[in-house]
Symmetry: C2
Subunit: 199 residues, 2 copies
Amino acid sequence: MSSDHPTTRDRILKATLDLLEAGQGQGVRMTDIAKRAGITRQALYLHFSTRAELLIATTLYLDAVKGVEERLVPSRTAQTGVERLDAFIEAWGSYIPEIYGIAKALLALKDTDDAAAKAWDDRMQAMRDGCEAAIGALNRDNMLSRDHPPDQAADILWTMLSVRNWEQLTIECGWPQEKYIETLKSLARRVFVAETTSN
Amino acid sequence: MSSDHPTTRDRILKATLDLLEAGQGQGVRMTDIAKRAGITRQALYLHFSTRAELLIATTLYLDAVKGVEERLVPSRTAQTGVERLDAFIEAWGSYIPEIYGIAKALLALKDTDDAAAKAWDDRMQAMRDGCEAAIGALNRDNMLSRDHPPDQAADILWTMLSVRNWEQLTIECGWPQEKYIETLKSLARRVFVAETTSN
DNA sequence: ACGCTACTTGACACCGTGTCAATTGACATT
DNA sequence: AATGTCAATTGACACGGTGTCAAGTAGCGT
């Protein structure tokens, strides 16, 4: 798809994404988006009836562009539960910085806009499914720590891997991305993988 | 202080706090606060020059009202590092629901208002000091896991205990407060306390 | 030449924050 | 009783950002 003839809608989505990424989700106004897409602010509303709707559409566009699905393949095809957990953290943890701009914008909108809240919650639910799958795999291997039942373990993993936590550790604490990934992997192992005598 | 003659300023702060608590930090406007304090919106600006300033003043008022300091005594006087860690999590974890309203409002403001960001960061820095102290005590006892150097451990504990994580676990996942506290204690032990042969 | 569609232009409404000038009412001073 | 001061009121207005509307225009296919 997409010859040298990108549709206006696509240009808008691209513009939104660019600005959101550049500004780390900070104050991207309809005017800015319009300007960058090379149209009028009012014309935006011919394609998206609301700012929230535009942002939501942008998340979908984003997933298509970045290819979430492919990234999750290693996790799904992992042999053992522990490997699956590692691969999932690796995949999601590497994805966060790429979606951070839009995530931030959506998160900010979440408090006031129901549609945005729903959009965000949907995506987080998808990510939660991944957590559940990883925990489930661990459990099937009999490697899940008896400290937490599977559903609770999934809640914990889901929370550990939240965008907010990524933000706090990398941006506020200044951790490099690499360190974030490695630490979260080791943390997750320590929390979820049952201790064995041989290891 | 405070006979049957509470000053207007105090009535404003009280009103702000009440609304913030009731609305869980959601959309509390200057108009609402004024109404509840029994004055005009404009009169608010005779006491606080800006919404951000009012919110910041409210956090200070809040700490005075709720008595943070006293709550931290058990943590500071704990005999062992592990006890200190436990006591700190207990104290802070119990405090979060009480400050959640104002925290949410401040957090929302953080993205756009520098003063609010600073106010919030200051308070979080104070809480971080507590994390560092707990980790330090653990380290002094030679009980800190060798997985993480102390500063990194403090980053992790600080992140674990964030308001956002509390929000996610209790509000989104529906955990009761009690469960939140207990789980965080056990998580922290598992992550930070070195395994011993005898235990 | 016709009409359709996508887009532009310019104006306007709504909301919430912040500002200003003029006024009122209560209290203390002299 | 007249004066001044201080806190608060009233009513108006500016600003920024979103969303809406009506009228006009440019390009395209038939």
